[in-house]
Symmetry: C2
Subunit: 247 residues, 2 copies
């Protein structure tokens, strides 16, 4: 099983990769770890495959690039080794129960760079875990934003994508989050009478989403406290048994 952890810088991809991997290993599964982040300095897991063996952001910066240019340049160079990385991951998939893939620190690298979708299209049915944290859900519109963002990831990477609220240990209760993230009817009805331009756009988008898209389960995880790991395991199993229908 191939699970890809995706999210903005700071959303907790690397920590979750390490902690979820530990959890699986404790249960007796064999786990392989893949690091696709050219910018990370240290990892809480031992990668079986690591793009930093090809290139790091720090290396490229030493050539005179600024940090932003260096990030893009590092993936331009990885693209030349696409075949090596895709076949190495496929090999790991055969050898182990789980392959956990940790993606670039900046999510947009994985969403916009050709390296990412070309790599993903070589796998049969990778499951993408889209991580976001409570900090970005401050306004009602933001719930609409993250739900749509999940769909865009699914579209761009052609892979079933599970939205995951991470870092739930920092909030008192997940009930408010749960209601807005899972009950699109409720979210839409709350947006209906928002008089702002933003509220109107969110309402139109969410109404359209209600019609067009089948419901997707949302997971609530604390990587730090190992909360929600069983749910993630269950959903990964369902994904590999049913080939994508996670409603």
């Amino acid at each position: 099983m191939l699970i890809v952890f995706l999210g903005t810088a700071g959303s907790g991809k690397t920590t979750l990769t390490g902690e979820f991997g530990k959890h699986l290993e404790d249960e007796g599964h064999t786990v392989s770890y893949v690091n696709l982040d050219t910018g990370v300095r240290s990892l809480p897991y031992k990668p079986d495959l690591d793009v930093r063996n090809t290139i790091t952001v720090d290396d490229v910066m030493k050539e005179g690039y600024g940090p932003n240019g260096a990030i893009v340049e590092s993936y331009d160079r990885l693209l030349e080794r696409l075949e090596y990385y895709s076949s190495s991951i496929s090999k790991l998939e055969k050898e182990s129960d789980y392959v956990l893939i940790d993606t670039p620190g900046q999510m947009e690298t994985f969403l916009f760079h050709e390296f990412a979708w070309r790599l993903m299209e070589r796998f049969d049915a990778p499951l993408v875990v889209y991580l976001f944290d409570p900090g970005i859900l401050q306004r009602i519109y933001d719930f609409c934003f993250v739900r749509f963002f999940g769909l865009l990831i699914e579209l761009r990477l052609a892979s079933t994508t599970i939205p995951v609220l991470n870092k739930i240990d920092v909030v008192d209760s997940i009930e408010r989050y749960r209601r807005y993230l899972e009950d699109m009817n409720y979210l839409t009805s709350r947006l209906k009478f928002d008089p702002s331009m933003q509220g109107y756009l969110a309402y139109r988008l969410c109404s359209a989403l209600l019609e067009a898209i089948s419901p997707v389960r949302v997971l609530y995880i604390s990587a730090k406290e190992h909360v929600g790991f069983e749910d993630l395991e269950t959903i990964a199993h369902e994904h590999y048994c049913t080939c994508g229908d996670l409603t």
Copy 2:
């Protein structure tokens, strides 16, 4: 008039800010330049306001952060100076015909970090120019992806957003791009018979978009060759006259 240039690292924000500014100045307008990128090393324009006077990614990296962490950390620190930056920009807006705002190298910083939406909500009617380049439009799904991405930017930043295909000097003809980007009926009809899961998702999303969203004009620009600058100027004027209806 406040124009905000947004796009992934490498999409040409900084070059366009500089070249469009030159064009406006040549026409006799007064132009102020704002740099919000803590990671940029050199600029082709002289900024009137520059976040690097507060903090740079390089500074934060010297404290031991990796490049990804340093980018996020630099905006955490800028958030403490939000008031200063928003009032400085408002002051520039009063003093000049145009204020051109160049955003962080990594687009996700501006989309996901609190600094960005809190800054944007303090302005009356900023116009966001969402830049993407022909390189990301390789598959039919990608056209659906960028159109939706534009909407998500609009939703998150509560600002009218114009999708702009930049770097048109690198393509032979923009006709194919124009058809897929502007004629949503055509795009949807082409997606209808795509048998892949990706095609089906793109079809559902684009069909919903057709119903829910009023058409938005797309611009075609070459920052390098000053192509499309009049269109951008026109749309900025229309935006400030009509308060947002750019159909």
